[in-house]
């Protein structure tokens, strides 16, 4: 165990895998990022002592520590999954530091010190100036007091009995809820990264919507106090009791340049009778540069359980960032008449790789699921849809509709579809539609001929292609997501 302040190791000592990470960070140094990190970081490597240290640093109850240790012991026996259609150098899990005390964000004096590339993106996204400062770590003046925004927000929620806080806080304030639900949808035995996350997760969000309450506003990580630094091993747990509703927004369209290369988050959703959870994600982690150097590995396990009758879980995701994305937000449709939905746009450019999709597990009777996946590949990237629809023996009258469309830009990228369908009940109806198209030169010509420039023409065509997914996003998010797509695909045609 070592919880002393550790110096960053010099470049030569970093392993090959982490070199990419180093390139990323050093390129940020160039712009004056992270000059003086005051943080408490554990030595690299993972063992039971490190896990006990993490747990004790967070003042966790004994059962939590034990749970983490069990997860760790299980993880040690597991192998990294090899089946995704993605390629990357082997990760040395002993070369990662698993604990870093909440760092102070590096404070810059003005936006002049921020990477101009980043500012250009902010501008294109139409992010207000004060918000730009907040996101890029510039000291914020009193005009935009995020704390007060969050406070007012919290009061409104409190009145309704809604709990919205960090997992660490929830462990202290509501241990019974955590004990009951944590790991109940994604057990630590689920997969390699879920086990790792369970062992070392740093923090994340906790949401509890009590019976009969309709959450009056969209909950966003952005407004949760102390959460502006997203953790490397995030853990999110959302519980919607009977007859409740919540819409949760994860992420932010602003570009996020985290220095941790590996991200292995776990998200668990639980919807009880008649409850509805809408979970929207915009993922815009650093994708690496144009040559494919650097970028985040985003290996995420997201799953929702529709436990009650007539419950509904809806995942909407817009994935434009990360060097590698590996995630399958899924629904377990346990309650009769429960509904699962998955709407996804995944964009890959340059050397990005994405292997994403969903699993719809129909257990209850008359359960219904809808999958709409739109993959856009440009540059030399690879984009795969992987999905499973399983209709169990007892899922009388279950229905699924799947639509998978891929769009290719240029001729050096790839689009792949891996749909798996398992039906054990013959009353089920499963429909699958798929298409692959190349962005049409004739479409671009047509729009050009009407006075619309090529870049705008491409955006228009791509946005049209993603229409069905964007309409599922909350309004403001949808507008930003459209702009984000434009930025991600900039210069990919023409």
């Amino acid at each position: 165990m070592n919880d002393s302040v550790e110096e960053l190791k010099p470049q030569e000592e970093l392993s090959e895998d982490m070199k990419v990470l180093d390139d990323l960070t050093s390129s940020e140094y160039k712009w004056g990022f992270v000059t003086d990190i005051e943080s408490e970081t554990a030595a690299k490597g993972l063992n039971e002592d490190v896990i006990r240290m993490i747990s004790s640093k967070k003042n966790e109850p004994e059962w939590m520590t034990e749970w983490r240790l069990k997860a760790f012991r299980y993880w040690k026996k597991m192998e990294e999954p090899k089946w995704p259609n993605v390629h990357y150098p082997k990760i040395d899990f002993q070369d990662i530091s698993y604990y870093s005390a909440p760092k102070k964000k590096p404070v810059l004096n003005s936006l002049d010190e921020v990477d101009p590339e980043l500012l250009r993106t902010f501008e294109k996204l139409g992010i207000p100036l004060e918000e730009q400062k907040l996101l890029s770590g510039v000291a914020v003046d009193a005009v935009f007091d995020s704390v007060s925004v969050a406070t007012t927000f919290k009061e409104t929620l409190n009145e309704k009995g809604i709990i919205f806080c960090s997992i660490s806080e929830a462990l202290k304030e509501h241990p019974e809820l955590i004990k009951k639900y944590l790991g109940s949808v994604v057990p630590y035995t689920d997969n390699f990264y879920a086990a790792l996350n369970a062992a070392v997760f740093s923090d994340g969000s906790f949401v509890f919507i009590p019976k009969g309450v309709r959450c009056p506003m969209e909950l966003s990580t952005y407004f949760r106090i102390n959460s502006q630094e997203t953790g490397q091993f995030e853990r999110t747990l959302i519980i919607a009791e009977d007859d409740s509703y919540v819409s949760y927004l994860e992420g932010c369209t602003a570009p996020i340049r985290d220095t941790n290369q590996l991200h292995a988050a776990v998200v668990e959703l639980i919807a009880l009778e008649n409850a509805e959870i809408k979970y929207s994600t915009v993922q815009n982690w650093y994708p690496g540069d144009k040559e494919g150097k650097g970028g985040i590995y985003n290996f995420v396990t997201k799953r929702g359980a529709c436990r009650g009758r007539h419950s509904k879980i809806s995942w909407t995701q817009v994935e434009t960032g990360s060097a590698i994305t590996w995630k399958y937000p899924s629904c377990i449709l346990q309650g009769d008449y429960s509904v699962g939905e998955f709407y996804s746009v995944a964009v890959t450019n340059n050397y990005q790789q994405a292997d994403t999709g969903t699993k719809m597990i129909h257990i209850g009777r008359n359960t219904k699921s809808t999958i709409v996946s739109k993959g856009i590949s440009a540059g030399k990237s690879n984009n795969s849809y992987r999905g499973l629809v399983r209709i169990g023996k007892n899922a009388e009258g279950a229905r699924n509709y799947t639509q998978c469309d891929s769009m290719l830009m240029g001729d050096r990228c790839g689009a792949h579809t891996f749909p798996y369908i398992e039906v054990e009940n013959e009353s089920a109806k499963v429909e699958h539609e798929a298409s692959t198209s190349k962005i049409g030169e004739d479409q671009i010509f047509y729009l050009n001929q009407r006075g619309i420039g090529t870049e705008d023409a491409v955006n228009m065509i791509v946005n049209g292609f993603c229409k069905e997914v964007f309409k599922e996003l909350p309004m403001e998010f949808a507008v930003e997501a459209q702009k984000l797509l434009a930025i991600s695909l900039e210069g990919s045609v023409g």
Binding site: Q443, Q449, M460, C466, E468
Partner: protein, 254 residues
């Protein structure tokens, strides 16, 4: 308005246009006729700037400006409009959104303010009425699920919205029944005035019963081999293209 001199153009390395000379003045309607493969569509694509077509020689001036120096969208913003033979479908984008973007691009180019939603809507309604265009077509995705006639009508509708000064109609009559043909022609005739010019590309004389040309040119093997008034179109209708081909052959042999 449009001045084409000694225009040569290639498609995939093969020479299709072999020296075209054509002069179109404001307010004039010209028709280009010719058998299949004579280069009619190539001319339309070269004029609009399609990059699959390579100009190897000659000049084109549009309102005194060198057209060949301009990008496709610049030509469009300068007032050149092509009514496509096969209008393209764009899923997920409504006709209205598409037109609003296009109209405002044109206005921006002319340093005019964007139309307000109300102004745009009024304009769209007014123009749709002229063509008897079903208003639901405006909110539908661009050309998606449109019938052949609806697509062609939509082209003319776009023309009315974008108000170009030079209109190329590329085989607009193909695949149209008589009623649709009449409506489309009416749209063109309403738009025709002393300053707008048209170049009508057609295989058949039929369309020219509705859109009366001032000049008719016969394109054959990449060259204009005969020009005349509208009576030339009737003559072609009556005798076909063979007599011109023979005439041309005789000239060549002399």
């Amino acid at each position: 308005m449009l001045s084409i001199k000694n225009l040569h153009a290639n498609v995939e390395g093969k020479e299709i246009l072999k020296g075209i000379d054509l002069e179109i003045k404001p307010g004039e309607v010209h028709a280009i006729m010719g058998p299949n493969g004579s280069g009619k569509s190539t001319l339309a694509n070269v004029l609009t700037g399609n990059k699959n077509y390579e100009v190897t020689d000659g000049t084109i001036f549009f309102d005194g400006k060198n057209l060949l120096d301009m990008e496709i969208e610049t030509r469009a913003r300068e007032g050149m409009f092509l009514a496509f033979q096969y209008p393209i479908e764009i899923a997920g984008i409504s006709n209205a959104t598409f037109l609003k973007t296009a109209v405002n691009e044109m206005r921006k180019y002319r340093n005019m303010p964007e139309l307000t939603p109300k102004e745009f809507l009024d304009k769209i309604k007014e123009r749709a009425k002229i063509l008897g265009l079903d208003e639901t077509l405006i909110s539908r995705y661009v050309n998606v699920g449109f019938s052949g006639g609806e697509k062609k009508r939509n082209e003319i509708f776009q023309m009315l919205m974008l108000e170009p000064k030079f209109v190329l109609l590329d085989e607009t009559d193909s695949g149209l029944d008589i009623d649709a043909l009449r409506i489309v022609s009416e749209g063109v005739n309403i738009y025709k005035n002393a300053t707008n010019s048209f170049l009508v590309i057609t295989h058949y004389q039929r369309l020219l019963n509705y859109i009366k040309p001032d000049f008719v040119h016969v394109l054959y093997k990449g060259k204009i081999i005969k020009s005349g008034g509208k009576e030339l179109a009737l003559e072609l209708e009556e005798k076909g293209y063979d007599w011109i081909k023979e005439e041309e052959l005789q000239t060549e042999n002399k």
